[in-house]
Amino acid sequence: MKNMNSKRNKQHTILIGDIVILIAGLLISLIVLLCGISRKAGDRVEITVNGKVEIYALADDETIPISSKQNGYNEVVIEDGKVYMKEANCRDQICVRHKAISKNGESIICLPHGVYVEVVSSQEKEIDN
């Protein structure tokens, strides 16, 4: 009996509540995902720095330098209808590694500098506002 107990102790008990939490988590993310997918090609680029928004056309190739708080520097490049972060002096470099974006609702975020780059389409943006 004692032996059995110690054997059972080594197993992980997965209870019904755990499975409920897992399924609930997956369901919530699926719902949010479906709400977020309205991904047609966009035509404008919105760059938000600390709440201030600037708008660029996705069709025009352009290099946009951005300076933000605490000597933050980012360089956003619009090229061939795609946007990417070419350079940033932030700590984690996550924004630089992000793939180029081109579809409505896609975004690149540089959290340390509070820079938010988003592609939008001019027809759908109206609903959001």
Partner: protein, 163 residues
Amino acid sequence: MRTKKITQMGLFLATALVLSYLESLLPVVIAVPGVKIGLANIITMLLLYQYGGRRAFLFMVVRVVLSGFLFSGMAGIVYSLAGGICCIVVMELIRKIPYCSILGVSMAGAVSHNFGQILVAWLVMANSHILYYFPVLCISGLITGILIGLLSDILWKRLKNIL
């Protein structure tokens, strides 16, 4: 008893900080922003199960502030603190529910931690589209939650009699 408590908390804090440091040394396997294993949370789980939510909360606040100063800077502290508060509150609530093991508590904690962070990001960025990033963080939270839950389960079973 008070001395024992202080020493224990010091020991736990030191362990958690070492774990945070170890984690910062790990190469980033997936380049998904905001996804971390959160090894230091093993200690939070131990404290939660051994001493309850209040001690775990106190521990979390001190740990976040210290590891913020050491590794991630002021902005990191705000995000981690928001995540941590959500995490401990939810974990303490879920722990009270029967039919839920340490795995479920850990998963719920990880997901709510990420949710807290995304809420702060929403406030900072003033852009609601950032909420669409939640599915990524939710699923990664479930995965890291299972990992941390398993590890804390193993550890707690061995440590609960000597703590």
